[in-house]
């Protein structure tokens, strides 16, 4: 059986990745999961310099989901290259996608250029959809012109293929997908989190210090499936699908909707072996259905 998938010329041994920000650079989860068994490790967003992130509380639980407002805390690209990329060198079977964030076009470019000659970086995921930082981030992701421009600019500086990570907090995500494609994106990934809010009724105050946070978890999965389906039918570039994937059924569903690969996010928090559990379930499904090539299920539900 073939579980390999290819995105922008990069071959992944299987379509299972984890979603940026839920897995660090894999270090903390390597006690539970053999990172070498994943299709790819997608790192936490990295900026040109260290970012302190938002005040706490940064986490709130909601029904079948959670809100986070981390605010892209990260050590900056230098420490990232010296520590995180070095750590990832030992996992030769696994591809590395580095999630890149910035407040401005210049900051994205600085990170992309710093990563250009790092052999461990197979692909760049450009985060234009974080709902928790005020400047940059989502500001680029909610206007199709801005999506196209930042995509074109990043693409012109990047050595590795680029994946534009799209926000679901838009009127029509197809427009953003087309804008990324027009700007030269090699692939798109979706969905980032949905902006949410939780109020503590006893204290009569916001649960998150940031007031709003990005919602993730099983509750958002149907929205993600719909958006992946819509984008798959609007653009020709491959899609990495994510949003509330917590079981193998969710992952297969996402591929049937049009995703070439899938990322597991919030599920890691309550099941540290979610990625490999899901992969095993997907393989059982393919065997049961006598499907020889996982690529043959991508986007077949029309």
């Amino acid at each position: 059986m073939n579980t390999k998938v290819t995105i922008a010329g990069v071959e992944f041994q299987n379509p299972i990745m984890e979603a940026s920000g839920t897995f660090g650079s894999g270090m903390e989860y390597s006690e539970f999961v053999d990172l070498n068994s994943l299709g790819a490790v997608v790192t936490k967003g990295v900026a040109n310099v260290p970012w302190p992130g938002n005040p706490t509380p940064r986490i709130a639980e909601v029904r079948s989901g959670m809100l986070n407002a981390i605010g892209l805390q990260n050590p900056g690209v230098e420490v990232f290259c010296e520590r995180d990329l070095k750590f990832l060198e030992q996992f030769e079977n696994t591809k590395v996608l580095v999630n890149v964030c910035g407040h401005s076009a210049e900051e994205y470019i600085e990170v992309v250029e710093r990563l250009a000659n790092e052999p461990r970086v197979d692909m760049l995921e450009i985060n234009i959809s974080c709902p928790n930082v005020k400047e940059g981030g989502i500001a680029f992701g909610q206007d199709p012109k801005a999506v196209e421009e930042i995509t074109r600019l990043v693409k012109s500086h990047a050595k590795q293929p680029i994946v534009m990570k799209l926000s679901p907090n838009v009127t029509d995500i197809k427009v953003m997908a087309k804008a990324a494609e027009a700007g030269g994106a090699d692939a798109i990934s979706l969905i980032n989190t949905l902006t949410g809010m939780k109020i503590d009724v006893e204290r009569q105050s916001f649960v998150l210090a940031n007031k709003t946070g990005g919602m993730s978890g099983p509750a958002v999965h149907p929205i993600a499936v719909r958006m992946v389906y819509e984008c798959a039918n609007s653009v020709k570039i491959p899609i990495i699908g994510m949003g509330g994937i917590s079981t193998w059924e969710d992952a297969i569903e996402m591929m049937l909707a049009g995703a070439t690969a899938v990322s597991v996010g919030t599920a890691n928090f309550y099941n540290p072996t979610a990625t490999t559990d899901i992969l095993a379930g997907m393989i059982d499904y393919l065997e049961r259905k006598k499907i020889n090539d996982i690529n043959s299920i991508v986007g077949i539900v029309k």
Binding site: G21, W51, N68, P218, N268, F269
Partner: protein, 254 residues
Amino acid sequence: MKIKETATVIHQEELASGIFRLVLETKICDYAVPGQFINIFPNDGSKLLPRPISICEINKEYGLMVVVYRVAGAGTKEFSELKLGDRVEVMGPLGNGFPLEGQKAIVVGGGIGVPPMYELARQLPGDVIAVMGYRNDDLFLVEEFTDVASDLIIATDDGSVGTHGTVVDAMRENHLTADVIYACGPKPMLKAVAEYAKEKDIKCYVSMEERMACGVGACLGCVCQSTEKDDHSHVNNKRVCKDGPVFLSTEVVL
């Protein structure tokens, strides 16, 4: 070594109003040290996140772990209904734990910060003075501390037992000194204990609390402000779950 497994409930009882003592059979106890915590996962799948709960007692011989927790919401309410033989998902041990130091130590607990000080008091090599703060006379773990500490001093918010006031009021009243102070409780209490330690020039460890998601240092949800640049992000944000929950009082901004 961290383990995620299904633990078996051996016993549960309510020690005080809303304060429960849960005894679990779990391999986690083989690796646990005082001051660490475990994640307990609600069986209700709509509550995704684990509840981080401090370890109160480790019994390696029988493979048992005791946690004492307060019912604070729907997740801990669910735990409080667990009975003998029930199964529950757990992960741990998590965090760093208290270093065991000193010829004479003061262990200070406030409210639901009382339980983790018990295993610490049991394992400390030297003389232990326990200072425990409660809201009122609805006390818990008093017998346990009486057994392991050379002295147990109690403070209550309403003055019904012991010193009328805070744990620090009780420490001042008794002119306590030691080589080292260990504290767990609400942040204002930790701040006051840290100030007391500074005045008396005593080394002080505090155990911090913050809203968590992953519990293993990946999500960066539970940071606390640190006085020096942290090792992970280099931005004065230490991870309570991974770098802590125990910090030197001078390492963190209280």
